[in-house]
């Protein structure tokens, strides 16, 4: 486990070396802030979190592939992956470390995002637990995006390529419900269950359903597992 932590720490620090991370954070805060201003301040004086968290989650979908594209693509391109493969760590530890690193970075983003619920708490009288439920939904969705993006990063040496693939995959899992709505019968139902948006919506209503939580945990785990398999493929 200490090695998972070593990799996670390096990965986390690595985000702050390049200006890209700062630019992404600033852009994210600006865009969400703009929505917040529009939805909460000038227009409706709304005291629930659901609409801002909904926007946050959608906007983060566009940012997450840029946070994860480096994870394995860069290691492959630089040849540093050889170091990881030949060190006394398992591929599972490497993947978990990288994933944890990206989640830690998301933690920083999330911390900054907490200002919006704080404003709502200070200036309004929202129900507390629905707020928590909204934020939990955001965290779960974001962690799933990161897992999907990490898998995309393990597929190719090109950072741009992995960002594109990651983005396409995340979009697919988000909007697959639109496709499934047009398919009748059990096939449509089954496809609809794969949709993140369907499982996400309950969190906004303040409902924490074990099935929905399980869905996000399972989908992230699946992509963590696929990343491990991908990296072991053709090596062992």
């Amino acid at each position: 486990m200490s090695k998972v932590w070593a990799i996670a720490k390096r990965e986390f620090k690595n985000y702050f070396v390049s200006p890209v991370a700062y630019i992404l954070i600033v852009m994210f805060v600006l865009i969400v802030g703009l929505f917040f201003n529009f939805l909460y301040v000038t227009r409706f004086s709304y005291a629930q979190l659901d609409s801002i968290v909904y926007n946050m989650t959608n906007i983060f979908m566009f940012f997450s592939p840029m946070l994860t594209m480096k994870l394995f693509s860069e290691e492959k391109k630089l040849g540093t992956i050889e170091l990881l493969y030949t060190s006394p760590v398992t591929v599972t530890e490497v993947v978990l470390g990288k994933y944890l690193g990206s989640i830690l970075f998301f933690g920083v983003v999330f911390g900054i995002m907490l200002q919006f619920p704080a404003f709502v708490l200070i200036y309004g009288k929202p129900d507390f637990w629905p707020m928590v439920s909204c934020l939990l939904g955001f965290v779960l969705a974001a962690c799933t995006y990161l897992a999907i993006g990490m898998f995309a990063s393990s597929l190719t040496e090109s950072q741009m390529g992995s960002a594109m693939i990651g983005f396409a995959l995340v979009i697919f899992f988000w909007i697959v419900s639109i496709i499934s709505d047009n398919i009748a019968g059990p096939a449509g139902n089954w496809l609809g269950n794969l949709s993140m948006s369907k499982h996400f919506i309950d969190f906004l209503k303040g409902i924490v359903d074990a099935g929905n939580v399980f869905f996000f945990v399972a989908l992230s785990s699946l992509f963590v597992f696929l990343t491990i398999r991908r990296l072991e493929w053709k090596r062992w």
């Binding site: 690595n14 630089l78 050889e82 006394p88």
Partner: protein
């Protein structure tokens, strides 16, 4: 310490390495020598657990590379040909990270980092960002990385590539020092490199081992066995018995061309047997068309082995 038996690696139907067998004892420096693309890196990557062999076995410090890869990896320091450096990191941070990754206990990390900084002579750049260092320094940071957990076995892929002559000499000295207590495998396509640092030399070509020799054997060849090349007309079998009687001739190889037979005599160092050969040929009723001497350098041995000519 290192025991490689019939190791093979295929990429689909393409052969990268086939049936490679060699051993290295504790404290020995073994050189893998071969032209580019011979399979040196592939062998090293199998030994370090970068990928699994298609078939064959290898044991390092008693652990099988396929069955107990983690135990093997704990005992190996590896310098890949493409330096595994995180360019945005500071040298000391990088080495601390590697130490953690290799399982050096927290209390010893600072000490180990200081030690390898000294060994690789990179103390003066320890606070600099790796990406901004010169190639020579990067190479040495790579070497420091391989030494960080004080491994029993060092595997160095082309360790002196891209260095200037002075740095090459320094690295060679360092490798020699390390050899006393650790087993070192290094690869190179440059012969003097290997002949100067290694005690045992494995020559590889097109994925197979073509020769294994120790320093002494190669030195003898390097000093120059004299060879006599002879072209004669007639059946050389008639003279074979006479040739065998000549002292100091170690071996005779022949090939036929345009009705003439070309014979190569391997002779002991510093002995001139031309006269004996002359008499042997004439007495057997054969005719000499040409006789010349040639010395064989280690370069020749290497070239001969790797270009699949007859002999040697």
């Amino acid at each position: 310490m290192i025991d490689v038996a019939k190791l093979s690696k295929f990429y689909g139907p393409t052969r990268a390495v086939e049936n490679v067998t060699f051993t290295a004892e504790k404290g020995e420096i073994l050189g893998l020598l071969g032209p580019n693309g011979a399979g040196k890196t592939t062998i090293m990557r199998m030994l370090t657990g970068y990928f699994a062999p298609t078939s064959g076995k290898a044991r390092i410090a008693g652990f099988d590379i396929v069955e107990e890869p983690l135990e093997v990896k704990k005992r190996i320091g590896y310098l890949p040909e493409i330096l595994p450096l995180y360019h945005e990191m500071v040298v000391t941070n990088y080495l601390e990270f590697i130490a953690e990754l290799k399982g050096v206990p927290f209390k010893e990390r600072k000490l180990r980092v200081a030690k390898v900084l000294e060994m690789a002579r990179i103390e003066d750049v320890k606070h600099r960002i790796i990406g901004r260092l010169s190639r020579g320094y990067k190479q040495r940071v790579g070497l420091a990385q391989a030494l960080i957990h004080d491994p029993e076995v060092l595997i160095l892929d082309e360790p002196t590539i891209g260095l200037d002559p002075k740095q090459i000499i320094e690295i060679r000295q360092l490798i020699k020092q390390l050899g006393g207590t650790r087993t070192v495998i290094l690869s190179s396509h440059i012969l003097p490199e290997v002949s100067m640092t290694c005690e045992k030399i494995v020559i590889i070509d097109k994925g197979s081992v073509v020769a294994v020799d120790d320093q002494a054997g190669l030195s003898a060849k390097l000093a120059g066995n004299s060879r006599i090349i002879l072209k004669i007309k007639g059946d050389p079998a008639k003279a074979t018995a006479r040739f065998e009687k000549i002292k100091d001739v170690k071996g005779v190889f022949g090939e036929k061309k345009d009705g003439l037979t070309s014979l190569t005599f391997e002779c002991a160092k510093g002995k001139d047997v031309r006269e004996d050969i002359f008499h042997a040929v004439v007495d057997s009723g054969l005719v000499i068309y040409e006789m010349k001497t040639a010395t064989m350098s280690l370069e020749d041995v290497f070239l001969k082995l790797t270009t699949k000519e007859e002999g040697v």
